[in-house]
């Protein structure tokens, strides 16, 4: 396994210029997640309108993989239906757990396929999933709060 399979150009680009990395002051739900084994942290805001994710913004510290993955995730999931986003998330999680057997469906995952190499480095899977899990948690919480009210 070569380093380049992990650190694809796309990843290093997102790492240097992350997207949506500035917390928006308005949101439906904010969550804070940590990766206890390395200390990386992320704060993520999600805005839910009806069945749409209209905004995701975040801030945090972390390695290139976690930063790039969160950047890619936010870009990919904003503006789509919640169902669709959850399907994408599912698909990405499977890719991460594939131990290098999958290369990822570019139709569904777009830039996120660049993270396929991570699945061969078990210790890094958590890095790649940090932002995605924060999104999942924030959205689920936002939904159940809406339900509770509604």
């Amino acid at each position: 396994m070569q380093l380049d399979s992990l650190y694809q150009e796309v990843i290093l680009d997102h790492y240097k210029n992350p997207m949506n990395k500035k917390l928006s002051p308005t949101y439906s739900k904010e969550v804070h997640h940590v990766n206890p084994s390395c200390g990386d942290e992320i704060t993520l805001n999600v805005t839910v309108e009806g069945d749409l994710i209209t905004n995701i913004s975040w801030d945090g510290v972390g390695c290139s993989i976690s930063q790039a993955s969160t950047s890619i995730m936010s870009d990919l999931l904003i503006g789509k239906k919640i169902d669709e986003d959850f399907a994408i998330l599912e698909n990405f999680t499977e890719l991460m757990q594939s131990k290098g057997t999958k290369s990822g469906d570019e139709e569904i995952l777009e830039d996120a396929v660049a993270l396929a190499g991570v699945s061969q480095f078990p210790a890094r899977i958590k890095c790649a999933l940090l932002g995605w899990m924060a999104f999942k948690d924030a959205t689920s919480q936002a939904l159940s709060e809406t339900e509770a009210k509604g």
């Binding site: 940590v34 206890p36 084994s37 078990p122």
Partner: protein, 416 residues
Amino acid sequence: MSMLDVASIKKDFPILSKKMRNDGKLIYLDSGATSQKPNIVLEAERRFYSEHNAAVHRGAHLLAEEASEAYEGARATVAKFIGADVEEVVFTKSATESINLIAYSFGNSLPGSRFALQPGDRIVLSEMEHHANLIPWQQLAKRTGAEITWFPVTDQGRLDLSDIDSIISTKTKIVAITHQSNVLGTINPLEALVKRTHDVGAVFVLDACQSVPHFAVDVKKLGIDFLAFSGHKALGPTGVGIFWGKFEHLQSMEPFLTGGSMIESVTMTDATWAPAPRKFEAGVPNMAQAVGLAAALDYLTKIGMDKVEAHEHALTKYALEKFSTLRDVSIIGPTNTQMRGGVISFTIEGIHPHDAGQVLDQHGIAVRTGHHCAWPLMRKMHVVGTTRASFYIYNDTSDIDALIDGIEYAQKYFKV
């Protein structure tokens, strides 16, 4: 009689070719205390150390990855062996630690938690418990004001369940009982106990030290809440035990040992916990021992736990018949094979267990003598101690014949 191929099994255990006193051979009948280890277990440990050793969950480097994979793989093997989910399995150093973990975790619970005990609450045990499933509960009772009550044991060495509804009452919070007695061989009827425990809203803790190594145990089928066993009695290394708990319990329980790797976040004055099972595994774990235990369970699975059970059942039947021909020898425990495992405790009229053990040792026969860490049971059975023979997969009828001959020799030697 579906016997195992003991001759070929014996070859897997290097210690069984050891030369004993006077160059005699080893007849190991003390597996109830600790089992012997097949080569494959020693090899698994050696391989871990010489190929993958690193602190798990703590490094990005290749060895750390491999060590984590080996350790988590071992967890999956244990889970499968007892029918559990993988995140329900916690590695401890021993069954003793596992039971203490439960007792201390309950003791650490905040008021209002379903695990918090109050004065007047009851912990139900039995008179045949090993000290490991007795003293931690006594201590918990002392710390919380709860009371210990217990099922008595009959003269035949069975649990007396006639008062089950008053012994397990609405005041009961915990019922902790052994699956199989390490002294009597008695296998306890769990169904009624677990049902009554749950009817009163209590949790059921199973001491499975003498069952998991000897017959198939499925935690889901048994419907219990917690289980403990030791690796060293199941062909595994010393220094590793298992604590199993239903995941919903593990989630709401307080941690026991605290330190590295079990945290979510830490400041100088406070900390939050990682999800189970990590919450219960503070520090660099007993990685090589976990891997060794997994190798042991794989070995048992390959033989087949049903075959292990049938083999021990047959040996026990054979031994009980032989014992019945002996003069002045009393079995402490059931004399039939109904709900009974391969542990036979006995006394010889006029010969103290320690002296009996010594004579047997002279013939290379390793048995245990004394109170077997079950002192209250000794008093109940009106004995100072017993001599105990316990069987495992590497024993055959010739070992029992040797035992019987040894007992007769002891009677002659001490002229009783």
